[in-house]
Amino acid sequence: MNSIITYREAVRQALREAMEQDERVFLMGEDVGHYGGSYAVSMGFLALFGPQRIIDTPLSESAFTGAGIGAALGGMRPIVEIMTVNFSLLALDQIMNNAATLLHMSGGQFNVPLVIRMATGGGKQLAAQHSHSLEGWYAHIPGLKVLTPATIQDAYNMLGLALRDPDPVLIFENSMLYNTKGVLDPQIQPLMIGKARVQRAGKDLTILTYGISLFKSLEAASALMKEGIDVEVIDLRSLRPLDDETIMKSVAKTHRVLIVDEGWKSGSISAEIMARINEQAFYELDAPMQRVCTVEVPIPYAAHLEQAALPQAEKIIAMAKKIMEKQ
């Protein structure tokens, strides 16, 4: 039955159902229990599932992430919540050197069915140490899958997809999305990991994006339509693997590409997408590809500076027009 709910509620519901359906699933992280989750995603779950399955951890990102890997090796289906991506740097050794390597290093003996959820993104005036968007950066690491749910449907579906995956999956939830609303159809067949979705069809220009930037891009697309520019907007959904097929198909249709992404520009996932289009669809391009990313600064506190640093619909519109001017 369809319902209109928030992104938070969608993640909550997926979590609750996963825990109800599979005893092996548990949630572990800072403040997921008594506090109810720093973004209130697991509010009330401690009472529902008990402290064995909703585990408040000490501030020990490395050890509890590693413990999630160990528990996955032990047959559980742990969901590790790293409060925000900013703190995941403390757990990077476990993520890159253990979670991502164990299967290969052991010659296929030990897979790691671990799900790590983290909030990501800027926009709340939390300044330089609390506003990173590193999902694209994480997508560099072989052995991991990186999901970025933008829609309510994906916020719900991706957790289940990740839990059914035999390998480590990172889910990045943009913290600005938790209060957004949309339709959830719990019966819908989830779109697989690694598949992008054409969120808006168009013929003049392809915008490739994910997460919060999807909505900025859709807003820009509406505005551009009024000026006669018909934009196709693609929600990448998964940054690793990337859906080359859907990307190239759209490029072959529109011949013009704009990528919108909240990571810092240099070394962003946008660069990787440009590289692939160049490699796979160079002759389809009618103009240089462009990108709108975050300005390369530690995100400042002041609202006007922070907003200036982040991608915005206006920047997307301006860039789209620039692309259309080229012959």
Binding site: Y35, D56, P58, S60, E61, Q125
Partner: protein, 318 residues
């Protein structure tokens, strides 16, 4: 430490400044003048004020995201702190830091750090530089009980002790890390014992009683300056307010809060030193705070053209 009315007055005034300043911050937050995270120090004032009393202007301070108290007690101008939270260029971090990242070179206030335990290694390094340069300085590092579980706590304490660095660790044990009680996060809840296991001179003190804190800090600084290496003080304290402005406080009892409020450091100090002229300080401080708000209001915004300034040093700086 010779306790006397002058000192009691000074302590009271500084604690009151923190208290009233933060109450104003809450008001400004409701008015959306201040945004982002806002972590209040109310209830814990005795710790920052008591510790700062033991320092000279040569000493260095590293604090956490809950650092208004430390900044004010250290003498970072209230105007600049308020302007910072308003996001103005006149702020102590030019509006780039906000509540969690107050910085002030003049008073050797090195922030304002929002990664729990992330400041400890920096403080260790500062103390190392003092030792290397043979400077007679102390570095003070504040952190919460939550930081104790982080690996960096352990690594930093070990380095400090191993190298006998001139550093004072101040653990503000307010019993909670966000909504998680200490008993859920530490197998040994006596944090001073943990510190002692690194062979660090370590003690646990009543962090609600400023005289006790000040005394302990003064003795600690003296020991450190004697070259005996680091000292660790665990201050037992309590935050009267929520963790931040987004906290429903479901994890603790109202009665627990009430019991601790009876130990209000301002009240306790006044009980001991009834001669403190509270009214005078209330008036003075009200003026200071009004001025800070006005200063912040009148402040200007950094030009967006300068967004990328300070990512790297200007050319020629060494």
């Amino acid at each position: 430490m010779d306790m006397n009315l002058d000192l009691a007055n000074k302590f009271y005034r500084q604690m009151l400044l923190i208290r009233r300043f933060e109450e104003k911050c809450v008001e400004m937050y409701s008015k959306e003048k201040i945004r982002g995270f806002l972590h209040l120090y109310i209830g814990e004032e005795a710790v920052a004020v008591g510790v700062m009393n033991a320092l000279t202007s040569d000493d260095a301070i590293f604090a956490t995201y809950r650092e208004h108290g430390q900044a004010l007690a250290r003498g970072v101008p209230p105007n600049k702190i308020m302007a910072e939270m308003f996001g103005k260029v006149q702020g102590c971090s030019r509006g780039r830091g906000g509540s969690m990242h107050l910085f002030d070179a003049k008073t050797r206030f090195y922030g304002g750090s929002a990664i729990v335990s992330g400041g400890l290694p920096l403080a260790v390094g500062m103390a190392l530089s003092d030792q290397m340069m043979k400077r007679d300085r102390v570095t003070v590092c504040f952190f919460g009980d939550g930081a104790v579980a982080e690996g960096e706590f352990h690594e930093s304490l070990n380095l400090a002790s191993l190298w006998k660095l001139p550093i004072l660790f101040i653990c503000e044990n307010n019993l909670y890390a966000m909504g998680t009680a200490l008993k859920f996060t530490e197998s040994e809840t006596n944090i001073s014992l943990k510190a002692a296991s690194y062979r660090i001179d370590s003690s646990q003190v009543d962090g609600m009683d400023i005289i006790t804190v000040a005394q302990a800090a003064q003795e600690a600084v003296a020991k450190i300056k004697n070259g005996n290496g680091p000292v660790f003080i665990e201050c037992l304290t309590y935050r009267f307010r929520a963790h931040s402005m987004f906290d429903a406080e479901l994890y603790r009892d109202k009665t627990e809060v009430a019991v601790w409020k009876e130990k209000d450091p301002l009240v306790i100090l006044h009980q001991q030193w009834t001669g403190i002229n509270i009214d005078k300080y209330e008036n003075e401080i009200a003026l200071i705070i009004d001025e800070a708000v006005a200063f912040a209001e009148n402040g200007t915004l950094e030009s967006i053209d300068d967004l990328e300034k300070y990512v790297y040093s200007a050319e020629g700086v060494q």
